[in-house]
C-alpha cells in the first residue's frame, strides 16, 4: 500500500504513514467510516426495498396504458373505473386490447398468523396482458375458485410453497369460500400486503360480492406494436368523456405510484428522512475523523509549511488520507451492510439487498465527502501563519 501510494503521489505517502502510525486510532477511524457506510447502506436498502416492492406487481402485467380513477395514487388504492371507458378506448385505432384489473386484499386465516394477499382479478383469457411466467399458468386459473399464489409471500414457508403444484394443490378457506392454489409465481412481501395472489375476475367477484364486473379498479390497454404510447395516452384523454380519469402510460403509472409511496405515504417519508439522517450522520463521522486527524498533526503540518510546502502538498496528504479511509472503511462497511440487509431481508421478507448502484454511490460519496471534509479541515492551516500553529 505504501509503495502504491508513493507511486501515485510521487512522494513519501505521508497520509498513509500518519494514519497507520497509531494502529488503534487508525482502526477506530476505519470503524467510524465503516459505520457511516453501514448506516447509509441500511437506510438506502430500506428505501430501495420500498421501490422494489412498489414496482414488483407492475411486473406481473404487460400493458402499455393504464386508466385509473382520479384518486388512484397506487395500484391498490382509489376508486373504480367504469368498464365503458375501456370500450371507448378500444375505439382508438392504436388500441388492440383492453383488460379490467380488479385489486383487493384477501386474508388467509392461518391460526397463529394470517397472511394477507394483495389479490388481482383478471380475465385469464387475456394472456397477452400477463408476464410470461404467469401467462403460462393462465389456463389453470380460468377455473372458478382457483388461484396462483405468491411463493415468496411472508408467512408461507418455502417448503409449503414448493409443494403447490397442479398435482398437489393447496386449498384454504377465505371469505366463506374455498380457494385452491394450483401453482405459484414469484412476488414477495411488501410494505402493504404479505404477498400476491392471482385469480380470474369471476373468482375475484365471488370473493368480493359487492364489487361489480362493470367497475374494475384499473383498465389496462395494449397498443399495436410501434405505436407512440404517450401520443395515444394524450389522444385517449381527449377521446374519453370522463375527464377526471388518469390516463397514463403503464410505466409512468408505476413511477407515479413509486413517487407517491416515497413522498406522500408516511412510511416513504420516514424512510426518506432515514436516508437523509443516515447521510448526515455519516458525513459528520467522516468529517470528525478527518478533521481530528488534521488537528492532531497541525504542528507537524506547520513545520512543513515553514519548510516551504504549499497548500497543494497539504491537500495531497488529505486526499491521500481520504482515499485510504474511504476505501479501507468502505470494504468492511460493504460487507457489514450486505450482511445486515440480507439478515433484515430474511426476517422481514422485504426485498432488502445490496445493489451495485448502492455500493458505487456510497463509495463515491464517501471518498468525495472525505476529501471535502479534509479540505475544510485544512482551511485553518492554509489561513494561519506557521508561527501561530506551533
Amino acid at each position: 500500500m505504501s509503495r502504491l501510494l508513493q507511486w501515485i503521489f510521487g512522494r513519501l505517502p505521508i497520509g498513509w504513514m500518519q494514519l497507520t502510525h497509531k494502529r488503534g486510532r487508525f482502526f477506530a477511524a476505519l470503524s467510524g467510516v465503516a459505520f457511516a457506510n453501514v448506516l447509509v447502506f441500511v437506510q438506502l436498502g430500506i428505501m430501495n426495498s420500498m421501490a422494489t416492492a412498489t414496482l414488483r406487481p407492475y411486473e406481473f402485467f404487460n400493458a402499455d396504458i393504464m386508466i385509473s380513477a382520479s384518486d388512484a395514487n397506487a395500484l391498490s388504492e382509489g376508486g373504480n373505473v367504469a368498464r365503458q371507458w375501456m370500450l371507448q378506448a378500444l375505439a382508438h385505432p392504436d388500441v388492440t386490447a383492453g383488460l379490467g384489473l380488479f385489486v383487493g386484499d384477501v386474508p388467509w386465516d392461518r391460526g397463529e398468523r394470517d397472511i394477507t394477499f394483495t389479490t388481482f382479478g383478471i380475465d385469464p383469457g387475456q394472456t397477452g396482458f400477463l408476464a410470461p411466467e404467469i401467462a403460462s399458468d393462465a389456463a389453470l386459473f380460468q377455473m372458478q375458485d382457483v388461484a396462483l399464489l405468491d411463493r415468496l409471500a411472508r408467512g408461507l414457508s418455502r417448503d409449503e410453497a414448493a409443494a403447490i403444484r397442479p398435482q398437489t394443490p393447496l386449498s384454504f378457506e377465505t371469505k366463506g369460500r374455498t380457494l385452491t392454489a394450483l401453482d405459484t409465481f414469484a412476488g414477495g412481501g411488501g410494505f402493504g400486503g404479505d404477498g400476491f395472489m392471482l385469480v380470474s375476475d369471476q373468482t375475484f367477484l365471488s370473493l368480493f360480492p359487492d364489487r361489480s364486473s362493470a367497475a374494475p379498479d384499473h383498465i389496462l390497454l395494449r397498443l399495436r406494436p410501434g405505436a407512440d404510447v404517450e401520443a395515444v395516452a394524450k389522444n385517449l384523454r381527449g377521446l374519453i368523456t370522463d375527464k377526471t380519469l388518469r390516463i397514463r402510460s403503464f410505466a409512468e403509472a408505476a413511477q407515479e405510484d413509486l413517487r407517491y409511496q416515497q413522498t406522500q405515504r408516511p412510511t416513504g417519508v420516514i424512510f426518506g428522512f432515514g436516508v437523509l439522517i443516515g447521510v448526515l450522520v455519516g458525513l459528520v463521522i467522516v468529517y470528525q475523523v478527518l478533521s481530528a486527524d488534521v488537528a492532531d498533526h497541525l504542528r507537524e503540518y506547520a513545520t512543513f509549511k515553514a519548510m516551504g510546502y504549499g497548500p497543494r502538498f497539504f491537500l495531497g496528504i488529505v486526499i491521500e488520507e481520504a482515499l485510504v479511509l474511504g476505501l479501507l472503511g468502505f470494504l468492511p462497511g460493504l460487507a457489514a451492510g450486505t450482511a445486515i440487509l440480507t439478515l433484515m431481508g430474511k426476517v422481514t421478507t422485504l426485498p432488502l439487498a445490496m445493489t451495485p448502484t448502492m455500493a458505487i454511490t456510497v463509495f463515491v460519496g464517501t471518498v468525495v465527502f472525505s476529501v471535502l471534509s479534509g479540505v475544510i479541515a485544512t482551511r485553518r492551516l492554509a489561513a494561519a501563519d506557521p508561527a501561530d500553529l506551533f
Partner: protein, 231 residues
C-alpha cells in the same frame, strides 16, 4: 546584507488586548554570519526570528530577506522564500510517523523534481554529518532528545539553505551536543556562506557568535560584534 530590517513593529492580539511586542527594530545581517539573539523571556526574540524567517506576516516596517521585501509579500512568494531557508525549532517538530531518514528527505523534496535516489543520498549525508548514520531508520520515538534535535538540524541543512533560523536549538542538548550543533552551523557559514540567526538563552554558545544582539521589552538594547573565527 542578506537581511535588512527597518522600523519593524509588531503587535499581538486585537482590541483592548492588543499589545506591542516589537518597537522600531533595525538590524542587518551580513551573509555567512552567525548572529545570536539574546534576551529575557518575552523580550521578542522569537517574534523577530519568525518575522524575518517568513513564518509570520510583517505588520509594520520593512524586512528585506535575500533581496525580497516581506512586507505585503504574497503567500506564494513567502512559500518560495521558505524553500531557501532552514529552520531548527526548540521542540524538534519531527514528524512522528516518519523515520529519521524520511524526516530529512522532506527537507529535500520540498523542491519539486528532486529524484528519490538523490534525496535519499543527500539525507543520508546530512544525517552522517550530525553523527546519526546508524539511526537512519529510527522513528523519533526511539531517539533521545539530543538525537531528535540533530535530526532536526540535518533536516534544516539538507537543502543547502541560504539562511538558517534556529530557535533555542541547544535547549534540550548536553554541552557536547550543543557544541557540535553550533560548530556545524559555524562550519556551514564558513564553507557555504550560510547565514545563521540563532535565538538562545544558552550562554555556552555565545563565544561562537559573530554578533550578539540583546533584546529587552521588544527593543534592541545592545549589539556586540565579535571577531570571526573564534570557533
Amino acid at each position: 546584507m542578506i537581511v535588512e530590517a527597518r522600523g519593524l513593529n509588531h503587535w499581538f492580539a486585537t482590541g483592548e488586548a492588543r499589545k506591542q511586542a516589537l518597537f522600531d527594530i533595525d538590524l542587518a545581517l551580513p551573509r555567512g554570519s552567525l548572529t545570536v539573539l539574546m534576551g529575557p523571556s518575552g523580550s521578542g526574540k522569537t517574534t523577530v526570528l519568525t518575522l524575518i524567517g517568513c513564518l509570520r506576516a510583517v505588520q509594520e516596517g520593512s524586512v528585506r530577506l535575500m533581496g525580497h521585501e516581506l512586507q505585503g509579500a504574497s503567500e506564494a512568494e513567502l512559500t518560495a522564500l521558505r524553500q531557501r531557508l532552514g529552520f531548527i525549532f526548540q521542540s524538534h517538530n519531527l514528524h512522528e510517523s516518519l523515520t529519521a531518514m524520511q524526516n530529512v528527505i522532506m527537507g529535500v523534496q520540498v523542491r519539486p523534481g528532486v529524484p528519490d535516489v538523490l534525496a535519499r543520498r543527500a539525507a543520508a549525508r546530512a544525517l552522517d554529518l550530525v553523527g546519526l548514520s546508524d539511526r537512519l531508520d529510527y522513528l523519533p520515538a526511539n531517539l533521545s532528545g539530543g538525537q531528535k534535535q540533530r535530526v532536526a538540524v540535518a533536516r534544516a541543512l539538507v537543502g543547502n539553505p541560504q539562511m538558517v533560523f534556529a530557535d533555542e536549538p541547544t535547549a534540550a542538548l548536553d554541552k557536547d551536543s550543543a557544541d557540535d550543533v553550533v560548530d556545524l552551523l559555524k562550519r556551514l557559514g564558513a564553507a557555504r556562506g550560510t547565514t545563521t540567526l540563532l535565538v538562545t538563552h544558552d550562554n555556552r554558545i555565545l563565544d561562537r557568535a559573530d554578533r550578539i544582539l540583546t533584546l529587552e521589552d521588544g527593543r534592541i538594547v545592545s549589539v556586540k560584534e565579535q571577531s570571526r573565527g573564534s570557533m
